[in-house]
């Protein structure tokens, strides 16, 4: 049987950072990733090929409920950092204070500041050097007319000095090479089927390679970093149940494809970097990836494909809520995929309604002529009164989606209410830790990668201090 000191499962922002810090501290670390090792340049960004090669289940993943919510997760070396837009936020201070209060936690503010600064340096957090995209400018113009707070969000991007083209500082560009340089072992296209046994001197995992070869591997400690769906699902498959997968949170979002009079979009359009935070934390607005194929999906849902020929005058804008409701992850008999349920509360629906009304107001102020909502019905919004058509729809006809998932192994100081303790260790284990979006106490209301990386640094540095 293979043996190692530490196994990190999953190589997204939490996993890559955990594995790197542990390997650089002198531990013998094996990083196991189910997906392939593809560099950023290997697959076109935001293409169907990327969906197939870099997303979990090819991007076809669904949370069931009164309104079904499409969610997507990265499933390759680097995880979500390889496929997302690279927008970076620190966790708002008010949210952190709330997490501490509600979950009996106490974070050292000085350490948090130090960790953020390190992360921001290592992944080159920076603002776009040139002009923002035209789609961003529309959002900015609309917000300005309404006197709403709209700001540029920095990204983990390294820009050339003489152009606004840059390289996203995803995990395969930053921590993975550092991890390998520190002597870490990376096993790709290898899936951990289950945690077989936890003994007094270690944990045994059952793994399966792409050639379907099954083998066991033993480690002193395990760090679960497979994301908010797969970390708890692995625990459930292995018999760990204490508060596992019962408190899933996400940022449900609703989209409009907006048609303007002038051209604002092109084949090489940059990711939009502006967000409206006037109604944050409950509601935020931004601009989504607006390739013709993504626009076509909204137009197809509303039977308005005839407008696709005008895609250069169109862009997709979203509104995202911080929900009150939550979801569960479970295993259903005879099936091997996790089954997700998500229940939105009346307040969540109220925020969604308020959110799309405000977003529509902003887009019309910015000069939009028509809005195509992401609903399963032929609806075109030409003025604010038309929004009643969405209000009157059955909730099952709304198309919600999210790329932000967290809190399924909530961290807390009280065992009864949480899955992992303030050190990131599973309450019901002495050797299993979690270091990814699943440990976040609640929805952060902003793009979560910065928060995940800060929490990971916090957990790993505590572990190193206790074990070295």
């Amino acid at each position: 049987m293979k043996k190692t000191e530490i196994i990190v499962i999953g190589s997204g922002p939490g996993g890559s950072l955990s594995a790197t810090l542990l390997a650089e501290a002198g531990f013998d670390v094996t990083l196991i990733e189910k997906g392939k090792y593809l560099r950023l340049s290997d697959v076109a960004s935001f293409s169907s090929e990327e969906m197939n090669k870099k997303y979990a289940n090819g991007g076809i993943t669904l949370a069931f409920g009164k309104t079904k919510i499409n969610y997507v997760e990265g499933a390759c070396v680097g995880g979500g950092s390889e496929v997302n837009s690279g927008l970076y936020h620190r966790l708002p201070e008010s949210i952190l204070t709330q997490w501490e209060k509600e979950n009996a936690l106490s974070f050292d503010q000085k350490l948090i500041e130090e960790y953020y600064q390190n992360i921001e340096k290592e992944i080159s957090i920076s603002l776009l050097p040139g002009e923002p995209s035209k789609t961003s400018l529309k959002l900015k113009d609309g917000a300005k007319k309404l006197n709403w707070n709209c700001a540029e969000i920095p990204r983990w991007y390294k820009y050339n000095e003489d152009s606004s083209k840059g390289v996203k500082q995803s995990m395969t560009e930053t921590y993975i090479p550092r991890f390998l340089d520190a002597g870490g072992t990376l096993l790709t296209e290898t899936e951990v089927k289950k945690i077989k046994k936890e003994t007094v001197d270690g944990v045994i995992l059952e793994c399966i390679e792409k050639e379907q070869r099954v083998y066991d591997i033993k480690a002193d400690y395990i760090f679960l970093c497979a994301g908010a769906i797969h970390s708890p699902f692995l625990l459930l498959k292995s018999g760990y149940k204490h508060n596992v997968g019962k408190s899933l949170k996400m940022h449900p979002s609703f989209k409009f494809s907006a048609l303007f009079d002038e051209k604002i979009n092109n084949e090489n359009a940059e990711v939009s970097t502006y967000q409206v935070k006037e109604f944050s934390p409950e509601i935020s607005f931004g601009c989504s990836i607006s390739t013709p194929s993504y626009i076509s999906l909204i137009l197809n849902d509303t039977n308005n494909m005839k407008y696709l020929s005008q895609w250069e005058k169109m862009a997709i804008y979203y509104m995202m809520i911080m929900p009150e409701g939550m979801g569960t992850i479970s295993k259903i008999p005879f099936f091997s995929s996790p089954f997700i349920r998500y229940k939105l509360t009346p307040k969540d629906y109220q925020n969604i309604q308020e959110g799309y009304k405000k977003l529509a107001t902003l887009l019309f102020e910015a000069g939009a002529k028509k809005l195509f909502p992401s609903v399963k019905k032929n609806i075109v919004i030409e003025n604010l009164k038309d929004l009643e058509k969405i209000d009157s729809l059955d909730k099952s006809l709304l198309n919600l989606m999210t790329i932000h998932l967290f809190s399924s192994l909530k961290m807390g100081g009280i065992k009864k209410n949480s899955a992992v303790d303030p050190n990131g260790k599973l309450w019901k284990s002495n050797r299993i830790f979690a270091c990814d979006g699943s440990v976040l106490c609640d929805a952060p209301s902003v793009n979560p990668q910065g928060t995940i990386m800060m929490m990971t640094t916090y957990v790993i540095n505590k572990f190193i201090a206790d074990h070295k």
């Binding site: 293409s47 169907s48 090929e49 969906m51 197939n52 289940n57 090819g58 076809i60 993943t61 669904l62 079904k68 013709p292 194929s293 076509s296 999906l297 197809n300 849902d301 494909m305 696709l308 020929s309 895609w311 259903i332 005879f334 099936f335 091997s336 995929s337 996790p338 089954f339 399963k376 099952s396």
Partner: protein, 123 residues
């Protein structure tokens, strides 16, 4: 390989190649989107969550059943308008989420078709 996939796999092989062609035609203005689109949809079918894949196979069988019982021909052999009517009927009823699943299916085809043959739809 999971037991459900083993059970439905032969059905997928038998039905889907022809069905996807028929669906492509019903969904887009072009007559055939070619092997690349077909291959992409198959790849996606293999990796999507197993319970959704099972649902999609059932949706396929359902569409075929309606076509055979009403028009005495497989789905892909009946004319375009009738195919569109069948899809619309399944989607509007949404029994056992079949409408949603067909929507997924059609979105995949649309996404890949547009990337493979961008000028067909954009202009």
């Amino acid at each position: 390989m999971d037991p459900v996939y083993c059970f439905f796999n032969p059905l997928e092989q038998m039905i889907n190649k022809a069905f996807i062609n028929g669906l492509c035609e019903a969904l887009t203005t072009e007559s055939n989107k070619g092997e690349e689109v077909l291959d992409f949809v198959f790849l996606q079918l293999k990796i999507m969550p197993d319970y959704l894949r099972t649902g999609i196979v059932i949706a396929t069988i359902f569409a075929q059943l309606i076509a055979v019982l009403r028009f005495f021909k497989p789905f892909q052999k009946i004319n375009l308008e009738k195919r569109k009517r069948i899809l619309k009927k399944i989607q509007s009823n949404n029994i056992f989420l079949l409408g949603d699943l067909l929507k997924f299916y059609s979105s995949l085809i649309l996404l890949r078709s547009l990337e493979t043959y961008p000028d067909n739809e954009k202009n």
